[in-house]
Symmetry: C2
Subunit: 190 residues, 2 copies
């Protein structure tokens, strides 16, 4: 590799038309719906895997950043929806943490339970709450492995100040995975 | 965020002068030394945290990609050395996996035991072997949390075909962490 690549990561063009950046959403269901709509649209647009995420300021409900799975289109196994959301949120704040002392607290909303990589990333990103729709069991039914996540993984993170809630609007989360399968989407690393 | 950022990720300029891209290294100690030299240089150049990584083709010993920790300079909590190495390796191959059927097998060498995020990422990146120098206990001594990694995390990954070896050239790995502390490097998310 004499000339190592410069990586460029940006949202698919459709994201800009589908996201209301002025949103202030107080309810957690509403926030999960943003993640679900992104996941669904990512399937419809065939721009990546069936996963979406959004990061909100806890108190104000301000939408800070979103993410969609970009693994296949960008040839980058790291770019799960949650990872994209973390990177974009931090770039937007100009900070390597969303949990700076004295700053706003941030929460991650995801269309599906985070995998081992993304769960580990929550700690470094500094979010204090993580909420998802479809569960790991549902992801597995559709062929997506979640990696080494155990009950004590959550215990560990709770001791670091994070809180979790899963299965919010679960049938909608499952429907996105179903849609992806119906359309013949590829199950990478199944 | 009306105009979401395009992320650009590239190596610090010094990497190109310090890496021999024509290297064919058969021995695992030699490969770990590449990761250690990158970690040390990242401290000396003050271009990020005290961590380095390298990805080699298992059989040929060809160096495919390297990584250094870029969390603070690029305001991106995801950019641990291992993650940068995975992203660069996949970009170099033009593939979202380093484990394509029929292709070469790849191994990750790191100056320090991977954290929960990076360990999860090994599965999606498709490497079949992971080798590191300083252990999680040593990282913790210097203030770096490794996140929710348990013995069963490794068991899980072994069942998926990965093999692991830690503590290779351990005193050299520890010396890099010591150097970082001696120079007053910041411990983010300590």
């Amino acid at each position: 590799m004499p000339d190592p690549p410069q990586l460029r990561i940006s949202y698919p063009a459709w994201v800009h038309e589908h996201v209301d950046w002025s949103a202030r959403l107080a309810g957690e269901d509403e926030r999960v719906r943003v993640a679900l709509a992104l996941a669904r649209q990512n399937v419809v647009q065939a721009s990546g895997g069936p996963f979406g995420a959004a990061i909100f300021e806890q108190e104000s409900g301000r939408l800070l950043a979103v993410g969609v799975n970009l693994v296949v289109p960008l040839n980058n196994s790291v770019l799960h929806a949650e990872i994209v959301a973390f990177m974009m949120a931090e770039a937007s704040l100009g900070s390597w943490t969303l949990g700076a002392p004295g700053g706003a607290q941030h929460a991650l909303y995801s269309s599906c339970e985070p995998c081992a990589m993304c769960l580990g990333a929550t700690l470094w990103a500094g979010v204090t709450r993580v909420v998802w729709s479809a569960t790991r069991e549902e992801a597995r039914l559709f062929g997506f492995d979640e990696g080494p996540v155990f009950p004590q993984s959550y215990d560990y993170l709770r001791r670091r100040g994070l809180s979790f809630e899963g299965g919010v609007l679960r049938s909608e989360g499952r429907a996105v995975l179903q849609l992806y399968r119906d359309r013949g989407g590829i199950i990478y690393n199944g």
